[in-house]
């Protein structure tokens, strides 16, 4: 599976450069005095979409069929995309945590940084967990539509929050709430993976 991860890494470096740039820019913006929660959430959503983008490129290049000739199981092919989603989520989340720490420490508490970090990581996994089973069942085109639904949902939620008041500058969550959110999301992520494997095993390449 190391070969598959390496391939995804090469592809991400080539095809997802714009995402990396946006993540970096938003990280810097989140540090500014005007920075708010949006600057932390948006890169997470984008990073969560990287596995979906990779699958779309793979379909275009006929890798999906070619991968069926290689000594990988369907579960391994699916697992790689979930690992990519997790890696992208963790890296973006770590960056966000650095931003939170720079903004809130030394006045804030380190526990709060970790609590927010866990909440953000849980949020970063929403997009791959929701979209990947659909993509493995129906392909990247329909999955993309679902991603936009998720994106509109998150934007709508942000809009609703903004209409009530100002977008909060940061999340305020307890360590227990952060851990609970991450635990629930880990479960959803695992179920999503199982579902994707089930779908992909039935798919004809």
């Amino acid at each position: 599976m190391k070969g598959l991860l390496l391939k995804d890494f090469y592809m991400s470096m080539r095809y997802c450069r714009s995402v990396l740039i946006i993540v970096a820019v938003f990280f810097l913006l989140s540090l500014s005095p005007d920075g708010n929660l949006f600057f932390m959430l948006y890169p997470l959503i984008l990073a969560g979409a990287i596995p979906m983008s990779l699958i779309a490129y793979e379909e275009r290049d006929n890798w999906t069929t070619y991968s069926g000739t290689l000594p990988y199981s369907r579960a391994q092919l699916v697992c790689t995309k979930y690992l990519m989603g997790l890696i992208c989520g963790v890296l973006t989340c770590c960056l966000s945590m650095v931003g939170i720490a720079l903004r809130t420490l030394p006045d804030g508490q380190i526990a709060q940084v970790f609590a927010q970090g866990m909440m953000l990581l849980a949020l970063s996994l929403v997009s791959p967990a929701v979209t990947l089973p659909f993509i493995f069942k129906w392909g990247p085109e329909k999955g993309r539509i679902l991603f936009y639904v998720v994106l509109v949902g998150v934007s709508g939620l942000s809009g609703a929050v903004a209409s009530i008041g100002q977008i909060p500058e940061t999340l305020t969550v307890s360590l227990a709430a952060g851990a609970a959110a991450l635990g629930v999301m880990a479960l959803v992520f695992a179920l999503s993976y199982r579902l994707s494997v089930l779908f992909y095993r039935k798919r004809e390449l």
């Binding site: 190391k2 070969g3 598959l4 390496l6 391939k7 090469y10 592809m11 080539r14 095809y15 490129y57 793979e58 275009r60 290049d61 006929n62 890798w63 999906t64 069929t65 070619y66 991968s67 069926g68 000739t69 290689l70 000594p71 990988y72 199981s73 039935k202 004809e204 390449l205």
Partner: protein, 280 residues
């Protein structure tokens, strides 16, 4: 041991059925799979590689059922499909890094020398390659992990005649080791005629025949005659015919036609066309 043994393989799609296919590819041999577009060649290859699900039948590769442990079996199979499905951004060097972690028997020096032999650049992205270069890279990958079985689906299409000859020679060289075997589908029947030991004709999902090439070419002949002359032959002697304004060209079984008839040797291409097309 047979490299490949297919028994009663059936796969049904709306409008197409691969019907009760039986094939045996002995070790040390090259089998050519010939058929028109949509005859079932790619379906057969995908079924062998367990990329699609069979409806019934069995496929054994080196004695192992492909439904069990296909991952291990694929370690010993080199595949080139009609579209080499590598991501366009990858270079041949990056492909090497990926395949090194994919195949247990990956041979980096062999890959490097094959790239050199086929004049392939190491650091250019795959999407800048011509179709021929893409196929050559596919061939280089397929050969660089010491497979025992090569499965080639239109692997020589898109190659210029000189490179095609070189690649076909590489496949031929591959089967010098009698533990190796090649299953090769191609529209370029002359390539198959050049190197194949066995020929399988697929037509509309059915196997018309599967025989040793030399025996097949010895069995059949072409007879150019008039329609009246042809009607005097036993129907069993005629396997196919083509009527033109100048007469009839018939594919006949040598052992049934009388020795005095003006027959000439038949090529694989003519044999296949006349078998699947009664009349043009």
């Amino acid at each position: 041991m047979d490299a490949l043994d297919i028994r009663n393989l059936t796969k049904h799609y709306p409008g197409f059925t691969l019907d009760n296919l039986n094939l045996t590819l002995p070790s040390g041999c090259i089998m050519g799979l010939i058929g028109e577009n949509g005859a079932g060649k790619s379906t057969t290859i995908k079924l062998i590689l367990d990329m699609i699900r069979k409806d019934s039948g069995s496929i054994r590769i080196w004695g192992k059922d492909n439904a069990e442990g296909i991952r291990d079996i694929k370690q010993d199979i080199g595949v080139v499909l009609d579209e080499v499905g590598l991501p366009g951004c990858l270079t041949a060097t990056q492909v090497e890094h990926i395949m090194r972690h994919t195949f247990k028997n990956w041979d980096a020096p062999l890959y490097a020398s094959t790239l050199k032999q086929l004049s392939l650049p190491e650091n250019k992205p795959f999407n800048t390659f011509s179709r021929g270069m893409k196929m050559k890279l596919g061939v280089a990958i397929a050969l660089s992990h010491h497979p025992r079985l090569l499965i080639l689906d239109e692997a020589t299409s898109g190659l210029d005649p000189v490179v095609r000859d070189e690649v076909v020679e590489m496949f031929s060289e591959f089967t010098r080791d009698e533990n190796h075997a090649v299953l090769m589908s191609s529209h370029i029947v002359s390539d198959l005629e050049k190197i194949c030991d066995y020929i399988a004709f697929l037509h509309k999902g059915k196997l018309l025949l599967c025989e040793e090439k030399d025996e097949l070419l010895a069995q059949y002949a072409l007879l150019s005659c008039s329609e009246a002359q042809l009607s005097q032959l036993s129907p069993a002697a005629v396997a196919g015919k083509r009527v033109t304004p100048y007469g009839v060209e018939a594919l006949v079984r040598r052992e049934i036609v009388s020795t005095g008839m003006p027959v000439r040797p038949v090529s694989l291409e003519e044999l296949f066309i006349l078998m699947v097309k009664e009349e043009i």
